[in-house]
Each structure stands twice: as structure tokens, then as C-alpha cells.
């Protein structure tokens, strides 16, 4: 086959890949604009409308379709994701810092940490439920489920920070010590600002993984549902396009989160550059 043929083949492959990657998202977006309340999750679109978005916020006249029971679940999931993000990132950074020096048993500890993201979620969730029952602990999203979320996201934060420290030049820390600055202050003033982009990535990982965690939460969260569980609960009755509208809104929220991340990243890079430009002006 000639070069243009190969190029064409690869192009087609890439196009198909993108279609399958983003197709579901596009379908979801289109169907969310179906008219309501009689329109369902199917093509063709009867009439374009923002009915389901208004339905989501309770702005439509009452109909036979109940509003999504997600308000409290959303608050719970966001709170849980923030708690998980903070704890996992702190653990991830400190654990990776510990791994910069070889210590006895470091190999075993490494695999113990990474195990948290390897084991099947449903089993861990079930296990947690059994343990909680055996010890008479009440299951809550902020208790048993929170612990599982940390166990699950901590390895991701840890691996991200491990990669960051791998590229980190330890001589800047030694330089700081040799200036008479204590190791604690050196970490705060020198090490942390330099690894901050990595910390942001670890936070992002922990937040998003926790926010849409399903299988572990299913058994461990007890009575009050988190967002993924609440949405799943609505599927078992009948699927209406209000779920799609909600999906679009969460996706936009994720984009906003990524945007914030990108801006924070760019700011830490640009600050140094701007100083230099002012100097030359």
C-alpha cells in the first residue's frame, strides 16, 4: 500500500475512534433538548426545547414525571469528593515524599498502597459492608464510603506525586538547607511550590474519581445515596431525558473544573515570565 493509502486508513481509524469516544456524549446532548413531558429518550426529536432543563430545576408545571431526586445527593457527592480530594492528596504527597528515600519494606508498602486501586470495587464495597456489620458500625457516605473512596483515590494521587518527585532535582532542597533553612520551611517554601502542578493533578484525579464512584459506594454508603447511586435509582423505573439534561450539566461542570485547573497551572508558569517581560519593557 502506498503512503496516501496508509494515511487515509489511519485517518479513517482515528475518525471512527473519535466517533465512538464522543458519540455517546453527543447523543446525550441532543436528546436532552427533546420536548417534554411527552417526549422520551429516542429519535427523532419531536420538537427542540429546554423543557428537561427547566424540569430539572422545578420550573415546569407539575406532570406525571417526578423531578430527579438528586438535590441532596449532589451536595453529598460534592462534599464527599472534596473530603476525599483533600485527604488523598495530603496522603499521596506525604507518602511519595517518604518514598524518595529507600526504606526497609518500601516495596511491600508500595504494593499495599497500589492495591487500593487494583482490587474490584464491588468486592471491597461488600467487604466493607460485612466488616461494618460485624463491628456494629453504621454505614454512612461520610464514614464507611469515605474510607473506601480514600483507599481508592489515594494510590492515584500517590502515583502522580511519585512521578513528579522522580523528575524533581533534590539539590535545590540541599541548597536551601545549606543556607540555614530548616527542612520543614524548605518543604513549604521551595519544594511545595515546585511540585504544585503535580499536587493540582493529584487533586483533580482524587476529586473526579470520587465524584462518580459507584461500585464501592453501592454497598458502603448506607441509607443516604450519593449522586451516581441516585441517578442509577431513577433508571430502574423509567428513563426520561431529564437524566440527559443533568448529564450535560455535570459535563459542563467538569469542564469548568478542568478550566480552573488549566488556569491555575498557567498562572504558576506565567508569573515568572511576566516579571521578566516587565523588566525588559
Amino acid at each position: 500500500m502506498n503512503a496516501t493509502g496508509i494515511k487515509f486508513g489511519l485517518g479513517l481509524y482515528t475518525a471512527l475512534f473519535i466517533v465512538f469516544l464522543y458519540g455517546p456524549l453527543v447523543v446525550l446532548g441532543i436528546l436532552s433538548f427533546q420536548t417534554g413531558p411527552e417526549g422520551g429518550p429516542q429519535f427523532p426529536i419531536i420538537e427542540w426545547s429546554t423543557y428537561w432543563y427547566r424540569h430539572l430545576f422545578g420550573l415546569t408545571p407539575p406532570s406525571r414525571i417526578a423531578p430527579l431526586p438528586i438535590e441532596q445527593a449532589l451536595v453529598r457527592s460534592l462534599t464527599l469528593a472534596v473530603m476525599t480530594m483533600v485527604v488523598s492528596t495530603v496522603l499521596g504527597v506525604t507518602a511519595a515524599q517518604a518514598f524518595r528515600r529507600k526504606f526497609r519494606g518500601s516495596g511491600v508498602v508500595f504494593y499495599l498502597i497500589v492495591l487500593g486501586m487494583m482490587v474490584p470495587g464491588v468486592l471491597v464495597g461488600l467487604g466493607m459492608a460485612l466488616v461494618a456489620n460485624a463491628f456494629g458500625i453504621d454505614r454512612h457516605w461520610w464514614g464507611t464510603a469515605f474510607v473506601l473512596h480514600v483507599v481508592y483515590t489515594f494510590p492515584f494521587a500517590f502515583l502522580v506525586m511519585l512521578a513528579i518527585f522522580n523528575r524533581f532535582d533534590p539539590s535545590v532542597e540541599e541548597a536551601s538547607w545549606s543556607l540555614g533553612v530548616s527542612p520543614a520551611r524548605t518543604f513549604r517554601k521551595i519544594t511545595f511550590p515546585l511540585i504544585f502542578p503535580g499536587v493540582l493533578s493529584a487533586m483533580l484525579f482524587a476529586f473526579t474519581l470520587s465524584y462518580d464512584e459507584f461500585s464501592r459506594t453501592l454497598f458502603a454508603s448506607g441509607r443516604d445515596l450519593t449522586l451516581p447511586l441516585a441517578i442509577y435509582g431513577t433508571f430502574s423505573v423509567e428513563v426520561h431525558p431529564n437524566v440527559f439534561a443533568f448529564g450535560v450539566l455535570t459535563t459542563l461542570f467538569s469542564f469548568a473544573l478542568l478550566g480552573t485547573y488549566a488556569i491555575l497551572m498557567a498562572m504558576s508558569v506565567r508569573r515568572a515570565r511576566r516579571v521578566a517581560i516587565q523588566e525588559e519593557a
Partner: protein, 368 residues
């Protein structure tokens, strides 16, 4: 337990004393008993081939790595076991290790503001001392630059200023000129000496280059296989290296191994007449400096006080003020001759031609 002898043995004019300092990695010794005394207000260069343990020694003195044994006394106080930030010893890294997220000014002010002992909290005092230091090292006008926006030589100055502004009584420099290009390196040599004189601190400058060590150091320490092989001023070191290994490392001696037999040295290229210069050494060797040898036609007769061997010309290397010629001796060894062009115009030697290589026996140095 601290013995009284720790202090009795302390030399008041010395800023740093090393006593039998050991360090090994996985059983392989990197420092095999270092003894040295560094005077106050002096430029000391530490010369050693790669793998001789010179960076290890510096890191042990700075406290980045522990010593396995021995004592380190700094300003009369034992510091082995003291963490690096409580030692008060400055360190300049080969890669400069500047703080990439801080400007030039912030880099220099960092130590003053953030150190544990006696931090300077008054912003005006910090600004004043940083300004003075910037002027001293010649960085005026670059205060607000990011350190990614300055050249290698300027980074070197920032690294130096950052350390000197905290007023340590000793600064360790780990191949500080290694990352600079040749032109800049020569200029920075002079600058380093001048800056040190103005600050009155002791510099311990590690280098693998013998010319740099000789040019910079008031005292030169030669490190070889984890031991101090010689400690002397540059002139003594150059003319009277303490061992064949030191001589080899100075890269300016032709060295023959062999045996001492009454009035001559028996080497693979024949009997070589002896001068008066002797250096006690376990390994017998005969050394003659590159620049003490003259090249003559094969049939020219030597004078009575001269030593003569023969070699065939291989190649020569022109380096501006001097020309280095290489000869193959009969045992296959390469013999080098340095001819200064201020003494004679360069001659053209015939390739593979036989020449007489002649030197005065008084110029030779014998290790036995």
C-alpha cells in the same frame, strides 16, 4: 562522649579540620580516612580524578551525607551528626540549583529571611544587604529577572550571591565552573578569587581540572582513591608532587616505572641519570616535566649533565603559546614534550622520524 581532646586538638587558625573521615557505599570505600586542615580566609582547591571521592567529601562536610567514621570540626565545633541547616557552611552546586520559582532578588534574599538562626525580618535590612551583594557579584539591573531568563555565568553569580549574603565562614564549591563555556570559565576564575578576598571567607573549590586547581588555590589538596595524596601550595605541588600518582594526575610529567640502582634509575627505556630531587614513595618512579625536555636531531651528542633517550615523532598539538609534541618510545609508551613558542619558533618534525629527547638530570624527580 565528647573528649577534651576534641578541643585541645583544634587549631584556632583553622576553619575546618577533618580527622580520619570515612564514608563507604555498600562496602566500597569512597573516603578512606581523610585528614585535612583548612585555614581561615583562604582559597583551597580540591583536585581529584573522577571517582576519587571529591564530591562525596564535599557532601559529607556539608552534611548532605553522613560520615561513617571520623570527626569534622568546623570553627572548633564538632559538626558530624549536625543537620546541614545548622552547620553554617555554604554550598554552591555545579548545576547552581537556583530556586526556579523565585526571581534573582528573591533567590538571594531567601536564606537571610528564612534561616533558623538569626533570620533578618526587617525588609529594609534584607533589601540593603541583597543590593550590596548584587553589586559585589555584578548582577545590577537583573534583580527582577526570573532565573530562567539569565545566562549561565549570571546564574553562577546568583548561586554565589545567594550563599555569600548569609555570611558563612566557609563555602564549598562543587565544580562551580564545570557548567560554563571555556571563555567564561577563565573570566569567572578571576572573579571568584576577587569575590572571596572581599568577603574574607574560606572557599573549598572542588575541580577535576589541574589547571583550574593550580590557578585558583592558595592551597591545593589532591584527593586520590579516597585519601588526601598531597596538600601543598600550587608551586610546590607542580614542581614536587608527593607521589607518582599525583604527578600523573597533574598531567605535566612523563613518568617511567622501574628500579633505583645506585647511581641511576633502571627503566624500560634504559638507565636514566639521577638528579638530587628525591621524593619518598612506595612505588619507585622517575618523572620529567613536559616542558623540561628539548628535542634534538638524533646524532646530536648530549652534554655531561644531560639525560638522553630516543623516540619517533608521532604528532604535535598547537595550543597558542606552546606546542606539545608526542613521541613513541621503544617500549611503545608515549612521551610528551611541551615547547614554549616564546623560546623558539616551532620546528617541523618528520613523521616517524627518530629524534633525541634530552633533559638535564637536575630537572628530573625521582620517587623511591
Amino acid at each position: 562522649m565528647r573528649l577534651a581532646s576534641d578541643w585541645i586538638g583544634a587549631d584556632v587558625s583553622a576553619v575546618l579540620q577533618l580527622k580520619n573521615v570515612h564514608r563507604s557505599y555498600a562496602g566500597v570505600p569512597a573516603l578512606a580516612g581523610i585528614d585535612a586542615t583548612l585555614p581561615n580566609d583562604a582559597y583551597v582547591s580540591l583536585l581529584g580524578p573522577s571517582g576519587s571521592g571529591k564530591t562525596t567529601l564535599l557532601r559529607v562536610i556539608a552534611g548532605f551525607e553522613p560520615a561513617d567514621g571520623g570527626q569534622i570540626l568546623f570553627a572548633g565545633r564538632r559538626i558530624d551528626g549536625v543537620p546541614p541547616h545548622q552547620r553554617g557552611i555554604g554550598f554552591v552546586f555545579q548545576n547552581f540549583a537556583l530556586f526556579p520559582h523565585l526571581s534573582v532578588r528573591q533567590n538571594i534574599a531567601f536564606g537571610l529571611e528564612s534561616r533558623v538562626v538569626d533570620p533578618v525580618t526587617d525588609v529594609k535590612i534584607v533589601a540593603g544587604r541583597v543590593r550590596d551583594m548584587i553589586a559585589l557579584v555584578g548582577l545590577a539591573g537583573l534583580e527582577d529577572r526570573a532565573i530562567t531568563q539569565i545566562s549561565g555565568g549570571q546564574k553562577q553569580r546568583v548561586a554565589l550571591a545567594r550563599t555569600l549574603v548569609t555570611e558563612p565562614s566557609m563555602v564549598l564549591l562543587d565544580e562551580p565552573l564545570g557548567a560554563l563555556d571555556a571563555n567564561l570559565r577563565t573570566r569567572m576564575r578571576g572573579e571568584l578569587r576577587k569575590i572571596r578576598e572581599r568577603c574574607g571567607v574560606t572557599f573549598l573549590h572542588v575541580t577535576g581540572s589541574e589547571t583550574e586547581a593550580l590557578a585558583m588555590g592558595d592551597t591545593v589538596l589532591v584527593l586520590d582513591r579516597g585519601r588526601i595524596a598531597q596538600s601543598a601550595d600550587a608551586g610546590t605541588l607542580y614542581s614536587r608532587p608527593a607521589s607518582p600518582d599525583v604527578a600523573r594526575f597533574l598531567n605535566c610529567f612523563n613518568i617511567f616505572s622501574g628500579e633505583l640502582a645506585d647511581d641511576a634509575f633502571v627503566s624500560p627505556v634504559g638507565r636514566l641519570a639521577l638528579g638530587d630531587a628525591r621524593q619518598p614513595s612506595a612505588k619507585p618512579a622517575y618523572a620529567i616535566r613536559y616542558d623540561r625536555v628539548s628535542i634534538r636531531p638524533k646524532d646530536a651528542a648530549p652534554a655531561g649533565d644531560e639525560v638522553r633517550i630516543e623516540g619517533s615523532f608521532v604528532a604535535s598539538e598547537y595550543s597558542g603559546a606552546a606546542i606539545n609534541s608526542f613521541f613513541a618510545l621503544d617500549d611503545g609508551r608515549v612521551f610528551e614534550v611541551e615547547t614554549h613558542l616564546s623560546h623558539a619558533a616551532p620546528e617541523n618534525y618528520e613523521e616517524r622520524g627518530r629524534y633525541a629527547l634530552v633533559w638535564k638530570k637536575e630537572d628530573s624527580l625521582v620517587f623511591a
